[in-house]
Amino acid sequence: MAIYNRAISRRGPVAFRRRRPVSATSQVESLARSLANQIIREREQAKARQRLGRIFTTFDPTDDVLPNNIETVTRGLFFGNTGSLTTMFTSSNLTATQKTYFQEIFSTGDPASNTNANSELSMAYGHFNGSGSKDLTGNLNNDTPSRAIYKQYAQLLLAPNDKKFTINGTDTNEIYVLNFNRARIREKLDPGNFELTLAQLSGSAGGGINAALVPNAAHTGSNVKVSGTGQFIQIIDDSSLASGGSIAEGGLVYNLISGSIDEGTSIHNSSSPVYYGLLYPQHGVAILNGEQLNKDISNGGVNFNSVTGSGVQGDNAVKLFTSLNASDALTPAGMNGGIQARSSEQVKSTYYFVRVKNAEYNYSNNPSFVTGSLGELYFNTFTNDPQVYITTVGLYNQRRELLATAKLSQPLLKNYTREALIKVKLDF
């Protein structure tokens, strides 16, 4: 209880104090002080009485509610909050036509044979001129799937009059696309925590390391293999650089460059890294420069040797899948292969501070708290020393409609000697 106790005058030690007549002013002050104390006491008693017989307590909007806190929440991008996808599966459920456009990538297994398979992302190949794929519908206008893919992503990510993806200042005709599922990215990919590890492929005649193997047009299906040299490249976004990241038509965009986030972010040859593509975190899309991936490893590529003939179904998206899926086996201990990524999302929260004072909420309407039909307490000792357990907090509006609930992890003992402060977080 607060006491109105303003010092009125400083007096000397009692032994040396001369008894003075009490002035009218000091009498008035004394009376005023006593009256103020009485008013405060009565108000507090009334407040305490008001609380009695109540199951609800009103929040003080200033002290008890902390609205609109924004927190950035990051999670592993893949199923089960996993930050890396090292073993991937394509889906046999896609139709032949769908496969000419994209491959859907699953974790755990092929959804055709594994009911626990989880869809994670899609991979596609795009060519500005429509090369590397064949129009299965007999259309003669060269509107092939690879052309459709290129134009689709150009339309989504580039400025209206920009028709080609430009990687490190050079336009590219060939792109590989990784499009992560919206449910996985939530709000966006988390820049700075994105890494692709690509295994070197064997390639084919006309530039591959197994030059005698197969001609370019036949570099599909079972001919797409890992080189066997154990070599791989790693690609990260350049958000760690001061110059990294810009806002373009497609929102936030980062360059994808040679580097690794294993054991901390490091850019390979940071003064002159290899540029592999672009990352659009808000779209959950990574665009890789096919022309760069086609190069051999000494030039920063992985020997994709994408099929680029016209009227040929190249299944190029499978090359990206094969390369990513095989890379984990090639990385040394302490490094991850495949894809490493996190999602990022801003969550608005309001905190409610539930303050339970010692004299409050010490009795319960729980039927096991009483015995008989007259409301007698189950234990006689509860009359003067009731013990209850808080398990649930309910948040109500003025009409006493239950809007949100929170449960404690364990029952919390409450009695006249205990107070509780429960911070309830409500995310929107």
Binding site: R51, L52, G53, R54, I55, F56, T57, T58, F59, Y352, V354, A359, E360, Y361, N362, Y363, S364, N365, N366, S368, F369, V370, L374, G375, E376, T383, N384, Q387, V388, Y389, I390, T391, T392, V393, G394, L395, Y396, N397, R400, E401, L402, L403, A404, T405, A406, K407, S409, Q410, P411, L412, L413, A420, L421, I422, K423, V424, K425, L426, D427, F428
Partner: protein, 221 residues
């Protein structure tokens, strides 16, 4: 030197169906202004004042019990609320109704006035919430209102039941039976104290309508 126990507990809340509905409606109705506490899953029979290890272990069985997760169904949460009462209280406020069973014929009415015993003036300000479980059998209206009349804890049995239940708030209620043609039907009316918590239920039997037939009526061929 030990570490001090951090006494602030942080818990995550989830929106109830009602909360989502009001949030979606967006008319400033989603405004949390008050809280209540409950101990729904605690059975105080587990509290053992005769525990051989002493006072610290009286409530051990309850305190070590894991608590189940929160549900989005507001009708199944906070059924048994904690209440603030004066120290030395020997009896918990009990919500009472005069009749625990009522039988009504079609179109007959009865008035129910819940009261609260063991606490003077209990629930006079905010009244009671009455939930009639099946609107096909009877109707219920509040004949005497209360402040901020609204459902505090509506209780429905299931989705189909929810569609048929009626929830009103007040201090006095009138129940009117409807016409049932097939069979007698028994339903429940639940009264919940909006201030002290606590609940009382009434079993209502609505008799089916007896249709008189002529004694000498014969089938015509």
């Amino acid at each position: 030197m030990g570490y001090l126990n951090n006494s602030t507990i942080t818990v995550d809340a989830i929106l109830t169906k009602k909360g989502r509905e009001l949030l979606a409606r967006g008319r400033d109705e989603f405004k949390i202004t008050q809280f209540a506490l409950a101990d729904d899953e605690v059975d105080y029979d587990l509290y053992n004042p005769e525990h051989p290890l002493g006072t610290a272990f009286y409530g051990a069985a309850i305190e070590n019990m894991p608590v189940v997760e929160a549900l989005a169904d507001e009708t199944q949460m906070l059924k048994y609320k904690l209440v603030t009462l004066p120290k030395g209280t020997a009896r918990i406020p009990v919500v009472r109704v005069a009749q625990s069973t009522i039988e009504l014929n079609a179109n007959e009415s009865t008035i129910i006035t819940p009261s609260t015993v063991n606490f003077g003036g209990g629930n006079r300000r905010f009244g009671y919430t009455a939930i009639l479980s099946d609107s096909d059998c009877a109707d219920i209206v509040a004949t005497r209102g209360a402040r901020n009349s609204a459902a505090s804890v509506p209780q429905f049995i299931g989705d189909s039941e929810a569609a048929q239940s009626i929830t009103v708030s007040g201090t006095q209620f009138e129940i009117t039976a409807k016409e049932l043609l097939n069979a007698d039907k028994q339903i429940t009316i639940l009264f919940i104290g909006n201030e002290t918590g606590g609940r009382a239920s009434v079993t209502l039997t609505v008799k089916k309508v007896e249709i008189a037939t002529a004694a000498n009526a014969q089938l015509q061929s």
